[in-house]
């Protein structure tokens, strides 16, 4: 018997749950002011998420999922990516999308059930929200293939949940990305739950990061509620991809502090105590504590920020609510580049509000 391959999975944390450094911070974080933009972005995300849920509760929005408790991941991913990179989100990534330049108005339109919400004015090449779990992984591999083929120093970044790591698409994509050494970063937002199914039921694997081993690519675990660690690990993965050194899988450990979506009631299946325990580790307070400890953030800043976030979110809501409804004929718009002749009668009927018979 001989050992023919060895692997280890590293976990990175810089700030513990109290916001105290557990080791010297990396360069970019030496000046705590550099971390303030992440804090602001997280608070904006939390404000937006809360508002979206409130709109749903009052019948002004469709089913929507909040990123409460896991804002750090999307925020860092969306902020650290270059503008010209390509992002392929799942449905719980308002933070990342906002950071990428998708407007909150667009997000609200989409979640209200209006296709126009995916016509992002900002990041034109970013993918729309992917509802079918893990499918975006394959799309990201295809995008990365194109970027590499054209020798562009751009990276495809995709996010997914812990549940997504059970889908064939996820593994096939990692494997192809590895084979072709593509510029793509896969980020798992491991919030410990896939609706009612806990992480332990998804897989017997000790970590989700180790799923990278199956594809022969690097896999890293990171404290997903620690902005500094996230930025550090994600930065390295982006650089690796951008410089031609291939894909990375990142497992960011976090926790879903609220229901799966507004259609869910998590009290049915999980212990509220488990949730309480995780409130002590959540990312927003953690970073605030650090900034306060560093004396770069105070009560006034906080109040101003909250007011500003509320205002921005409200402005988006107003704009969203003022959106005229899509005309019925829109069903046939952009279905094909040019509507086939065979469908003209259907389109005409739809436009007139009658499509059948």
């Amino acid at each position: 018997m001989s050992v023919v391959a060895r692997f280890e999975i590293r976990h990175t944390q810089f700030l513990n749950h109290l916001g105290e450094p557990t080791q010297p911070l990396p360069d970019f974080a030496r000046d705590p002011d550099n971390l303030i933009p992440y804090y602001r972005a997280m608070v904006l995300t939390r404000t937006y998420d809360a508002k979206a849920v409130a709109l749903q509760r009052t019948g002004q929005l469709g089913t929507v999922g909040s990123s409460l408790g896991q804002e750090a991941i999307g925020t860092v991913v969306g902020s650290v990516m270059q503008r010209e990179d390509v992002f392929l989100p799942t449905y719980r990534e308002a933070g990342a999308q906002i950071a990428r330049g998708v407007t909150m108005t667009e997000l609200l339109r989409y979640w209200s059930g209006d296709e126009r919400g995916s016509d992002y004015r900002g990041p034109r090449q970013d993918f729309p929200v992917c509802i079918t779990i893990a499918a975006q992984c394959a799309h990201a591999v295809g995008v990365a293939y194109a970027l590499k083929l054209r020798k562009e120093p751009r990276v495809a970044v995709t996010m997914m949940g812990d549940g997504a790591t059970s889908k064939g698409d996820f593994y096939e994509s990692l494997n192809m990305a590895g084979t072709w050494h593509l510029p793509v970063v896969f980020v798992i937002a491991n919030n410990q739950w896939a609706i009612s199914v806990p992480r332990s039921v998804q897989s017997a694997a000790e970590t989700l990061a180790q799923k990278a081993v199956a594809a022969g690519i690097p896999g890293e675990q990171v404290d997903g509620n620690d902005v500094v660690a996230l930025r550090y690990v994600f930065d390295q993965a982006l650089q690796r991809a951008r410089s031609g050194d291939g894909p990375t899988l990142i497992e960011a450990l976090s926790y879903r502090l609220t229901d799966h979506t507004t259609a869910d009631d998590a009290r049915r299946y999980r212990d509220p105590e488990d949730v309480s325990r995780h409130w002590a580790m959540e990312p927003v307070a953690r970073l605030r504590n650090y900034l306060v400890l560093q004396k770069v953030w105070g009560k006034d800043d906080e109040e101003k920020l909250i007011a500003e976030c509320n205002e921005r979110v409200q402005a988006a809501v107003n704009e969203y609510l003022a959106t005229p409804p899509p005309p019925p004929g829109a069903m046939f718009e952009h279905l094909y580049a040019t509507l086939p002749a065979a469908l003209a009668w259907q389109r005409d009927a739809a436009a007139s509000g009658k499509i059948h018979g």
Partner: protein, 326 residues
């Protein structure tokens, strides 16, 4: 006898059959503690334990695939796919294996599984949650495809599906889950598969439909009756194998036929029925067969959903149109 909803009827059938037959088990995403996202499996975990009420990892292809292995071993897996838009990864195992295991092995191995999935639009759900997928399955030899339209049909047909020795795709119209209640006797009696049900007798036109659309069809028929037009209403219930004799008999009587379904028109299963009528009932037809179906576009997000779905007016108009002839 209690008045229950369609989803409660599904639950009742599952619980009863699990009680009666220890080889029945349910599996799928969130079917355990959560009781399924629609609560179809509510309470089963507590009653039957986690070995028979299995929360699977998130992997539709394998939910179907492992069901085949279980079924070949004599279990009766009832697998749930959470929404019909997620059923496509399961298709490979269903088409290439479930539907043919018996045939390929000359009956040595069999596949008595049920694949349940909610289907259809009308509940303002997000993308991919509102698909009508019956067509994909109804073309596949070796399968049964069943869609209930009421609580009582759901109860009786699901029992029949579980007891059937071959694979059954059981499509549950989401919109009908809580649309109305009906008295359902939990008597363990299955309804027959492979036959259409006559929901309403009539002499002027035949309306053929299935699933949630029966609701609109019944309203349309009542409205037509007010005008003196007596429509016969047929609930297909089992799409495959299709009971054409019942449909042809009705069309022979009425001479007119309107087929109503929620799936997109082109290549929808209504085409099969219309084609069979054209082949075998042409001479009794007094008017062209009309199809009332969703248009050939992607199920829109909720804002336009109601324009996409066939409605009562359209059904009424189609029946009237058949009456313009002759």
């Amino acid at each position: 006898m209690a008045e229950i909803t369609l989803v409660e009827a599904v639950n009742l059938a599952l619980a009863g059959e699990m009680e009666r037959d220890p080889s029945v088990l349910v599996l799928g995403e969130d079917v355990g503690a959560d009781g399924g996202v629609f609560r179809a499996t509510l309470g089963l975990l507590g009653r039957f334990g986690k070995e028979r009420v299995i929360d699977t990892p998130l992997a539709e292809a394998s939910i179907a695939g492992i069901s085949i292995g279980m079924a070949a071993q004599g279990l009766k897996p009832v697998a749930e796919i959470q929404f019909s838009g997620f059923v496509y990864p399961a298709l490979d195992h269903i088409v290439n294996h479930a539907s043919r295991l018996r045939h390929r092995t000359c009956g040595r191995l069999t596949c008595p599984m049920v694949l349940r999935t909610p289907c259809g639009a009308g509940i303002h759900a997000p993308e991919h949650h509102s698909e009508s997928v019956e067509t994909f399955f109804a073309h596949v030899p070796g399968l049964r495809v069943v869609i209930p339209s009421s609580p009582a049909r759901a109860y009786g047909l699901l029992l029949a599906a579980i007891r059937d020795p071959d694979p059954v795709i059981f499509l549950e119209p989401t919109r009908a889950y809580r649309l109305f209640k009906q008295e359902v006797d939990d008597n363990g009696q299955a309804l027959p598969l492979d036959v259409c049900f006559l929901n309403r007798e009539g002499s002027d036109a035949t309306i053929v439909s299935w699933g949630a659309m029966l609701h609109e069809v019944q309203i349309a028929a009542a409205r037509l009756a007010d005008e003196g037009i007596m429509a016969e209403v047929i609930d297909v219930a089992t799409l495959k194998p299709l009971d054409m004799p019942t449909i042809l008999e009705s069309v022979a009587k009425t001479g007119r036929c309107v087929i109503v379904h929620e799936a997109s028109r082109t290549g929808g299963f209504g085409a099969e029925i219309a084609a069979s009528i054209a082949e075998h009932g042409l001479l009794s037809l007094l008017a062209p067969v009309q199809r009332v179906a969703a248009p050939d576009c992607v199920v829109p997000l909720p804002k336009l959903e109601h324009y996409f779905m066939p409605d009562v007016d359209q059904i009424v108009a189609a029946v009237r149109k058949t009456l313009e002839f002759a």
